[in-house]
Amino acid sequence: MCPEISSESSIARVVPAVPFLVVAPDGHAHLVGSRCTDCGAIMPGRRIACAACGTRGRLESIQLAESGRLCSYTVVHRSFPGVTTPFVAAIVNLDGGGTLKGTLTDVTPDPRSLPYDMPVEIVYRDSGQKAADGSAFLSYYFVPSRRGHKND
């Protein structure tokens, strides 16, 4: 999916906020993961050994799914100084494996509007933060699924 950043020129000045977020030269962003060909575990990022079984050198690079379900969350009302609250911190089980933490956005930060297991998608957005060289930090966010969910 393309980052939701408008101009061509800005794409060249994007820095991923996490190591497993990759922005291709054409501006397409995706999340890379590793799958252990021995035990099947799926982990974010590129790795030397499998965190689940310890096997070395048997990890294949994969693209993590961009859809999943809300496993758990909290509405953060008090955070570190300078951080805007409230926001929803979420744990999402990705379709096809892997679990990520992140911010669930485009929702009302109220438990009554956050059903357990709600389908979510991953989007890539300018975090609004800039690196020392002026580049924009691009991050991933969870949003409520706009397509409905394949299991629904």
Binding site: A51, S72, T74, S79, G82, F87, A131
Partner: protein, 384 residues
Amino acid sequence: MTDVYIVGIDMIPFGRYPSRTVPELGAEAAWLALDDAGLGIRDMQALYCGNLMEAHLMVGQRILREMGLTGVSVTNVANACATGATAFREGLIAVKSGLYDVVLAVGVEQMGRGLLGGSGRSDGFVEEGALGSNTMPAMFAQIGVEHARKYGTTFEQFAKVAVKNHHHSTMNPKAMSQRETTLREVMEAEMISWPNTKLMCSINVDGAAAAVIASERAARRLGLMARAVRVRASEMTSGPYTPKEFAIPDFNEVTRNCTRLAYEHAGIGPDALDLVELHDCFATAELVHYENLGLCNEGEAGPMIDAGETTLGGRIPVNMSGGLLSKGHPLGATGIANLYEVATHLRGAAGARQVVGARMGLTHVVGGSFGRGSACVVHVLERV
């Protein structure tokens, strides 16, 4: 291998001591524990010191500068919220192995105020709010919400944990806060991270606790068996792999693994316990640990707190000290302070909060953080 005993144990009242230093607080707790045993610093063959915030500053050696530079082996340990319990366990292992007869374990911490959790990134990116939350209340809130998702646990049930522990604390003169709260007051307090309100979060305080650990031979030689407390099990685990590992530490699995080993090595089950001090860093945590420690069946933690089973006088009193929610949570001291609480009950010396006839108790600490991992220590103590 020898049985190992606690022959002296104590803690300073937890509170805020801005004019004191970490070594001063540690030494004060150590002297209390030595006095409890009737021993002196020159009797200690080694020191095991737990501290987190000054982990690179040789806290154990600095404690000996206060107490007497006896030149013995000093081991400084840091292990998140399991720091104090890890130091105690290292001392216990050394005695059990026969290397030493009598050693001292000290846990000590001076805390700032405010939220714990995040540390800055070198590239300047602020993760908080952009990649969820790294605060401790948020982490344990998400663990509670997951329990609610699975079992329908309610905000009110989580809040009842705080009401209970605050009630217990009114009987503990060493607790930072000794104030009764109502359910309504707890639920209406400032929301920190749903469903944990401010009164459902542990208090950041300064504190120190210490224990004198002895082999059976030494305890008998020194005439200390009458007040000795036997360590029936001492287990430690780190977070095992779970599919959620890279999103959030799994405090359930690490605790379950540790507890299983502790019951196995103690040769008992949870039914044999008379009291438990568990890691209630947040109210949500206490409920999930009822199940992790086998105090109730899966999904029954909510009904268990509703029925008052973990209140003084209930089936299995939990956190008689007031827990971290009221006693306070000086990270490095916590894991020895909870041993002090259980040992005090086993000695029949807990005053108004005494669990009558207590013979066997369990202590539990678990710590960790996002992107790092977790550590759990469980001890089973028995009246001699």
